[in-house]
């Protein structure tokens, strides 16, 4: 496991922010304000929950981090890169520094577990030898070494999410963004996924997890960013969920 994430072996957050947003605002062409004056700094190695009701701006927050959108104003820096000054050709490089998983897994149904993970390496020009070496290690990391040749339809929800996590880790990212990763899972499986994310975080990868799962947030007592109506209304370390969204 350490050989996969060997560049970051510390488990405590450091002072250097891996994500920073300064006065970030995002207004859509129809006038809807998605984010307003958001200031956030997330140090490398942190584990942060992003909470808020539907429409609070969580998705926009994530889209800005992976540069799917640019803010209307303000500055966004991710993994040492200024996203506003970044050229289009540099975006793939940024995205290899960020792993992302979704509630709906987004696996390719006609590819096996191993092929889904290998696909992320193939499409970025990684050699076949590296892919053959790396994929089994990643599957072992997420506990799917015995399911390498199964299709997604032959897997449980938890196993599908593990596959998505393995795929997100192929480039040894500095940040792992999990957008409602337990949204489609039962409580037991949700905890297994959370344990896996904690394990990944302990190896030094910064984890940002958007969630509605009150139980998980309260049990973890990690930093919580709460968005409401596009405003950052709470940013507390070791916090609880506080209210029902």
């Amino acid at each position: 496991m350490t050989s996969l994430l060997r560049r970051r072996t510390r488990s405590e957050p450091t002072d250097a922010p891996v994500i920073s947003m300064a006065d970030v605002g995002m207004t859509y062409p129809n006038g809807k304000v998605a984010l307003a004056d958001v200031n956030v700094s997330i140090p490398s190695g942190d584990f942060v929950f992003l909470v808020g009701p539907s429409g609070a701006g969580k998705s926009t927050f994530i889209r800005l981090l992976i540069r799917e959108q640019l803010p209307t104003h303000g500055h966004v820096r991710v993994a040492g890169r200024d996203l506003l000054r970044m050229r289009r050709g540099q975006v793939p490089g940024l995205r290899r520094r960020i792993g992302i998983v979704f509630q709906d897994f987004r696996l390719l149904p006609n590819k096996t577990v191993a092929e889904n993970v290998a696909f992320a390496l193939d499409v970025t020009g990684v050699s076949g030898a590296t892919t053959r070496r790396r994929v089994p290690k990643l599957l072992s990391l997420v506990g799917l070494q015995d399911h390498a040749h199964h299709l997604p339809t032959q897997l449980s929800g938890g196993e599908q999410q593990r596959t998505a996590i393995a795929r997100a880790l192929v480039h040894d990212p500095a940040i792992l963004i999990a957008d409602e990763p337990t949204g489609n899972l039962d409580p037991v499986t949700s905890w297994e996924i959370i344990q896996l994310l904690i394990q990944i975080n302990q190896l030094g990868t910064t984890v940002l997890m958007a969630t509605h799962n009150q139980e998980v947030v309260n049990a973890m007592r990690r930093r919580v960013l709460a968005l409401e109506g596009g405003h950052l209304v709470r940013d507390e370390a070791a916090a609880a969920y506080e209210r029902e969204y």
Partner: protein, 299 residues
């Protein structure tokens, strides 16, 4: 090595994509074949007519019909005068008897017999000089000089036939280019549509590729190669079709245009290269337009 991996990845994905979307890909390929067959037909006809044009240029350019009862010496003097004119290549004397033989032969060729009327009052044709030119532009000067000569009854040139043929070529070329342009546009839209369907059917894959950091080239080129594949397959099939009908075309051309239309031996190679270039070009441009608009929308 990364470039080789990129090429390998793109080619394999293009091949898979072509067959995954087989019906649309084959329909696009069929329209490419249609366009290239029309292009080949136009190219063959225009080339044949151009060969005919060259043939007319190289043959008798000016015919001088001579007055009756010229003495042999006078005819020889006239031949010497004409041979001395600038731009003249050869001068051939055609006697009335020889002219009659030619006329009868031309009737026999088309299966008819020349009816000369009453054998007691035979028809006599004019003697003439058939003049070929080394410089086709000298036609006007030679004609003017001959028409002012006392021994010449009338001057006939091939200029009118030449102009008529040029006119036909222009019309065929214009109609052909417009037709090929319209079919070309249809092909372009077919390929744009085919690739667009392929792109949309693989939207999930593209989304994942973008999220895991695939460059635009890795996303774009498999689709462009898929378009090129439609063009390539279309061009190769068309080349085989043209090669298959090549031998029957030659006599048909002679029959249709009433002139030798033989073209150089390199003609098939040139035509094949043209078909290949147009097929690949249309495939690549159509696919590029399709993918470009999709990627521009999904940044």
């Amino acid at each position: 090595m990364p470039f080789v991996r990129f090429i390998g990845f793109s080619v394999v994905r293009a091949w898979q994509g072509f067959w995954r979307n087989a019906m649309m890909s084959l329909a696009a390929t069929a329209t490419v074949i249609l366009m290239l067959v029309l292009l080949a037909a136009l190219f063959i006809v225009i080339s044949g007519l151009n060969a005919g044009l060259e043939f007319i240029e190289s043959k008798v350019a000016v015919t001088a019909r001579l007055e009756d009862n010229l003495t042999e010496q006078r005819v020889e003097r006239l031949i010497a005068e004409v041979e001395a004119m600038p731009g003249v290549a050869t001068v051939e004397y055609v006697s009335p008897e020889e002219a009659m033989d030619r006329l009868e032969a031309s009737y026999r060729e088309i299966g008819r017999e020349l009816d000369l009327g009453d054998p007691d009052s035979p028809i006599t044709l004019f003697a003439s000089l058939e003049i070929t030119l080394s410089d086709p532009d000298a036609s006007a000067d030679v004609s003017t000089a001959l028409s002012q000569h006392g021994a010449v009854e009338r001057v006939l040139t091939k200029q009118a036939e030449y102009d008529t043929l040029l006119g036909i070529i222009d019309v065929i070329r214009t109609v052909g280019i417009v037709g090929i342009g319209l079919v070309g546009l249809t092909v372009l839209f077919m390929i744009i549509n085919t690739i667009r369907i392929a792109v949309y059917s693989r939207a999930n894959e593209i989304e994942i590729m973008r999220l895991v950091g695939a460059s635009d080239s890795f996303i774009r080129w498999p689709f462009i190669l898929e378009g090129i594949l439609c063009g390539l397959i279309g061009a190769v099939i068309t080349i085989f079709l043209v090669a298959a009908v090549w031998d029957p075309i030659q006599p048909a051309m002679v029959q249709v245009f009433q002139m030798p239309t033989a073209v150089s031996t390199r003609f098939l190679t040139t035509l094949s290269l043209l078909l290949l270039a147009v097929g690949l070009g249309v495939g690549a441009i159509g696919a590029w337009i399709s993918v470009r608009s999709y990627l521009a929308a999904a940044r």
